[in-house]
Subunit: 187 residues, 2 copies
Amino acid sequence: MDDARTRLIESTRELLWERGYTGTSPRAIQERAGVGQGSMYHHFAGKADLARAAIRSTAQEMVPRSRAHLEGPGTPLERLRAYLRAERDALRGCRVGRLVQDAEVVADASLREPIDEVFSGTLQRLAAVLREGQAAGEVRADVDAGQVAAALLSVLQGAYVLARAHQDPARFTAAVEGVLALVAAPR
Amino acid sequence: MDDARTRLIESTRELLWERGYTGTSPRAIQERAGVGQGSMYHHFAGKADLARAAIRSTAQEMVPRSRAHLEGPGTPLERLRAYLRAERDALRGCRVGRLVQDAEVVADASLREPIDEVFSGTLQRLAAVLREGQAAGEVRADVDAGQVAAALLSVLQGAYVLARAHQDPARFTAAVEGVLALVAAPR
DNA sequence: GTCTATAGGAGGATAGAC
DNA sequence: GTCTATCCTCCTATAGAC
């Protein structure tokens, strides 16, 4: 049986995903966690403190997932495809990317930093695989791997936006397939 | 001299951009517009009604801008570059894309539809230019124009996310240049 | 058209009892 | 550790006077 602290973090993670930081209230967190007011303020200093714990937790969770694909088996291009095509909940959006739209998150360094770090790490791993792919002749060699890595990560983040705007997960897939087609070296 | 109605829409547009729908209050709108409570509720039925007017206004404004680049002078590839490299406030985010992260916006069809339409229109124009470029040999011919159009628009939307996450506009530029390099047919 | 008054509820947090 | 009481402000809107 989970303790109150754990349940509070978990419900905060969910609410941050669904409603964002501004849209998430301590009251809602407590209710979803089934935890009282006093308990919440015993374990955490307040909303920002809880969000900090929740964001760190979510961010940490994403690292092994991207590594599993990008540093897994297969040729470099196969690994890129595996990562980009990994199952994602297109209509729900990115648990992490979603948060940086929020002015209050960006204004608070301790909330923004964990996000900054996940993206930086992913960017580096993507660039490394791209360079491998270039060496292997699978990926176009006449492009800058760092810039293309940024483009790939941006496609994922932006694809969520398109999918939500149209309320259609197919938009997500289209964008991903579009950029994958471009990355592969022409035959 | 602007009337109250106009100023209300304008201040709502600004606040939606800065704080999102959930983070924008009628009170803040009135203060920024220099308009009283009674005046606001005289001209608009409430927050959602104001947001509807503001979102429509912002969305309408974006159409001629994209057309200016995509249907302007130059070769197809030059026009794509002009559009993607057009000056954007990377750290502020997209006036329109930003809104779609907001659960309340997505839940209200009358708020989401104007956004849906801008994106759909842009997507079609991008795809058309891409096909022109393919015919002209400037753009890789072995890719699906519709998918690549989705990828291009996603890069823009996602590049805002990266720039905000790192608080660095250079991330935006890197992503854009990365995808532009990929779109051009290899020599 | 615009102003002021009013209102019930939510947001975010503190205090002290148990 | 958790509960209840309490607090002040903001949110969003309505009512009615001017």
